[in-house]
Amino acid sequence: MQYIPNILFLLLLVAGVGYFTKNIRTVIRNIKLGIPVAINDHKKERYGNVARIALGQSKLLKRPISGALHAIVYLGFIIINIEVLEIIIDGLLGTHRVFAFLGGFYDFLIGTFEILALLVLVSVILFWTRRNVLKIKRFLSPEMKGWPKQDGNIILYFEVVLMGLFLLMNSSDYALQQMGAAHYIQAGSYPVSSLFVGIFDTMSQSSLVLLERTAWWLHITGILIFLNYLYFSKHLHILLAFPNVYFGAITPKGQFKNNQAVTAEVKMMMDPAADPFAAPAPDAPPPPKFGASDVMDLTQVQLLNAYTCTECGRCTSECPANQTGKKLSPRKIMMDTRDRLQQVSKNMDTNQGVFVPDGKQLLNDYITTEELWACTTCNACVEACPVSIDPLSIIMDMRQYLVMEQSAAPTELNATMTNIENNGAPWPFNQMDRLDWAKE
């Protein structure tokens, strides 16, 4: 009988971690729907980026207020999670504060956790105010209505509850330690929770134990629920930001990738030995599709980008098209890509892991051509992203599909392209007049 809490804890842990693992496997399966890209170059530079951009939050801090608040919450969450390790060991073994033997260092640890927890609480309240009270433009874009707004708030509520339970657990523990209750060894320092320990003055020891145990169990249960919430939320970035930054482009931002399928076609066209009448072999694979109209046409890195996006909207607020009232929002490009990928994922789940065409695609059903044609390719969105997401590459791939598969460029651009093709300039000037400026 005495092992019932241990067994319950084990079951809770297995269920929490198990369901999370299942969903992460789904994320990996979905990312693999994209075109594989072999990235095994510049390892040192890539790890440097992870250290600087992801761990060091260098890009986030470019906006000092939200950057500093985020750094506090991030640091708090990472460091307080050391405590989770103790909770798991205690839960499985039935011990209490198993790291207490660390003595003075344990006091230091718990004290640090408490101060961080308080700072996280304050930051989260400020975050909530920014999202709900202050009229900050990037939180009011059309794509933030409904679930995305709710999602942002739910994450903040989770953090308030978890930090609150953590402090409640500590303060009741501290009260019990002062009473000299059995099993509650004298350990840890409680600079924050000791401040409101007075509220337990009238409580009996048994109800205090009940309170402490309840807070302890709710705290770890809350953490496991939060862990499982990640998959359904933009909050997945806390894990994916690291691989995403690793796989982020390290070439100059102006270098757009050259479409290999097109290179093959151009080479064939220019090869005098190529047989112009050759028919493809009957078993030849279908010709490659140019550009992207759906998520499967994007690369695995682009799909990872979509899952990593935490909808902060820095890209959109820097976008010249968005700032001047155009429909384009780079954040929406990423959100649409993720939403479509999740739709494909559900489709696969209900069809034994095989995608059954549903008559929908990323183009038009999610992203309109008006958005795609508003982009100036200025790279402001790519520069702004704190986790190295590249919305521009998706826009470019979709433009390629529009132009090369559908011949659906805006009319003026068709004229431009005809000029380039016929006379080597975007305007209708003769190539033979190219040096006339020198004689004028």
């Binding site: 479409n259 290179t263 700032q323 001047t324 429909k327 390719t377 093709e421």
Partner: protein
Amino acid sequence: MSDVLKVPTMADFMAQGKQPEVLFWVGCAGSFDDRAKKITKAFVKLLNNAGVEFAVLGTEESCTGDPAKRAGNEFLFQMQAATNIEVLNAYKVQKIVTACPHCFNTINNEYPQLGGNYQVMHHTQFLKTLLNDGRLKVEGGKFKGKKITFHDPCYLGRANGEYEAPRDLLRKLEVELVEMKRCKTNGLCCGAGGAQMFKEPEPGNKDINVERTQEAVQTKASIVATGCPFCNTMMTDGVKHQEQEQQVQVMDVAQMIADASEL
């Protein structure tokens, strides 16, 4: 003016069995656009003055394909690239300088995988090396003490990380360099990139070049300096839109240096 401009072509050099120090890639805007032609000429004057043995491709030059690629026509881009690379490689070109950040970006970053490997420089970078080597003298002249702001072309700045070369040249002109709120990595686009230059903007409540020039005008600078023929056009139009053309001039860095030396 034609008697002062010396513009040899690669074909001229080849006929003499010589190789120029650098190929000046003029670009479509630099060849055909009236405002950009002034930049081209100013840059040629500086090259002549510095005694740089340069050549142009002349009628053998063709669009790099940048607008086609950014518009989604990868096919046309790669056709243009293949043609240009064939010409450049036939002339054994090693070093290219261009006054257009779009040409600079495309040849520098996108041609190598297609077989075109050259050392490519933006004209502000090239002018800076001439300055460092003592071949070019840059002095304030009529710009001394004037308030000037620099608009970062996206394809020079964010796209290729070059923010300082044009600013260093401006400082040499002894101007009072003031920055717009959005500059360098945060610089706001002029609105021309991504083939937008060649189409009407999508529906919105403002033109991007107006937004950008408002910011430039707010600095109270008398000259908006830039390093891109397309930015030049967009900014000039934006200044006109605000009826500020009497107070604010838009000039390329090369034009300013040539003007300062009264070339």
